[in-house]
Amino acid sequence: MSGMATIDVVVSDVVTVNSLIKRFHFIRADGQPLPAFSGGAHIIIEMQDGDTLRRTPYSLMSSPLDTSDYQVSIRRDEEGRGGSLYMHNQVKNGMQMRIGRPANLFSLDKRAPKHLLLAGGIGITPFLAQIHQLVETNGSFELHYSARNEALCAYGAELAQRIGNRLHLYFDDQSQRIDFDTLLRTQPVGTHIYVCGPAPMIDHVLTRCEAMGWPDAHVHFEHFAKAPPGESFTIELKASNKRVVVGENQSILEAIEAAGVDAPYLCRGGACGQCETTVLECDGKLLHEDHWLEEDEKADGKKIMPCVSRFRGQRLVLDR
């Protein structure tokens, strides 16, 4: 497969963090250190779930200074496509699995005199790794972390120990909200902002940053779109000369891979641009779900991101 070389790993620990979140530890099957990574990086975890091969991106939360293991924290998502349920229900200590090499689409800008980190819920995970890095390099930062309640605020207590008054916690059940406008208005020149959390939170921060004159280059976000389920449809792959049925709970990319066709990918969440594919013929409507293509490109209908986007109509021919 062309996405990346995979690494054989063993699950070395599974820890229940709270009622929704479990933490998974991976070590290399051959006992060697894992590849180096930087805070904000993610890995793809391969899951052989019956006949279905899932490949899902998760942010690394462990310290980039320690590559003896990788750790990810996964929130149980009852409405998702099943990746998190598989991890929660099937993955046990000692299990052999395969992961991709780390890739970072959410790295710290090391030139920044200050980093403003905004986390919502499970969106805390990339920041945990970044904070290891920032503490080690004496970086200036603040973390504003919002969770439903104290019990669901994963790693809140540990962070309070580690970073003291650089941590600001907000609990929905106590009607505490991050005051984004005040934060955005009061940052020293050169500050970079990083946001990871639910889509509405990211959208709100991006909108306010733009309205308040923040340069794009100082605004970073990470949101892995989920490939949404939808009606089944058939696509034609011109280069491979194949017709492929995309199932209701399958992405175009997964269907292409299941048909034995090598297709590029990196994040599998509509963020990195790696899987961008040319649309040769389209009689119907492309249902774009990614954060990669510009609005005019989406309207043009000449490109599609097969990791998350779908199609409704008569005929779709891809250059793959």
């Binding site: 020293p188 020149v189 500050t191 308040m212 004159g213 923040w214 340069p215 100082h218």
Partner: protein, 204 residues
């Protein structure tokens, strides 16, 4: 390297046209020749624009009737600093850059040396290039760094030019350093110091 090769040099700064940006605060740096630009930008700015603005004005005494300064004064900007040279104004600019917050737009207009120094100072403070606009007016005199002794000579009008630190005769290149806000000067007669090309006034 010949002069004509220099025209393709990517580091040669290019300047734009100032326009009112969507920002929380607006910080202007201008000299007498650039002051006109602020006055004309004011015509296109929304009401109350200069309430959240600051102007650092370098009065180079080239505008004998102070017409431009009067126009800038008339904008009613609550924070107007007037200094004699850009070098004298730089500490004030640094202090302002320390105080301003993200969401500020910086506008620089005036001579090439002023553009270079103000841009360098703003970048050192961590300002993003997207938050900075420049427009060139007035003198093209260059700040030049001697690549041999590293000394910087200001107000270079001629080609070639003499380094005021080590005395070498230098070809003033379009190769520009944003880090030191200066064009690079390279010894023009290293092989035969008795060959002294005539200085021509080209950067006016």
């Amino acid at each position: 390297m010949s002069e004509s090769d220099d025209s393709a040099i990517l580091s040669r700064p290019r300047y734009g046209t100032l326009s009112p940006a969507n920002a929380q605060y607006h910080l202007f740096v201008a000299d007498d020749s650039g002051g006109e630009v602020i006055a004309s930008l004011a015509n296109r700015a929304p009401a109350g624009f200069f309430d959240n603005a600051e102007i650092i004005y370098v009065d180079t005494q080239t505008d004998v009737n102070n017409n431009t300064l009067q126009k800038v004064n008339a904008l009613g900007c609550p924070r107007l600093y007037i200094g004699p040279t850009i070098n004298a104004a730089l500490p004030r600019l640094k202090a302002s850059l320390n105080k301003i917050r993200m969401g500020t737009q910086v506008y620089v207009c005036g001579s090439e040396s002023l553009l270079g120094l103000a841009t360098m100072t703003a970048m050192e403070a961590g300002l993003d290039h997207q938050a900075l606009q420049t427009e060139h007016r007035g003198s093209c005199a260059r700040r030049m760094q001697c690549v041999h002794c590293k000394g910087i000579t200001g107000n270079v009008n001629t080609q070639p030019a003499t380094c005021e630190h080590c005395g070498l005769l230098l070809l003033v290149r379009d190769h520009y350093s944003r880090r030191v806000a200066a064009f690079q000067g390279v010894n023009i007669n290293a092989e035969d110091p008795s060959d002294v090309p005539v200085k021509e006034e080209v950067y006016v």
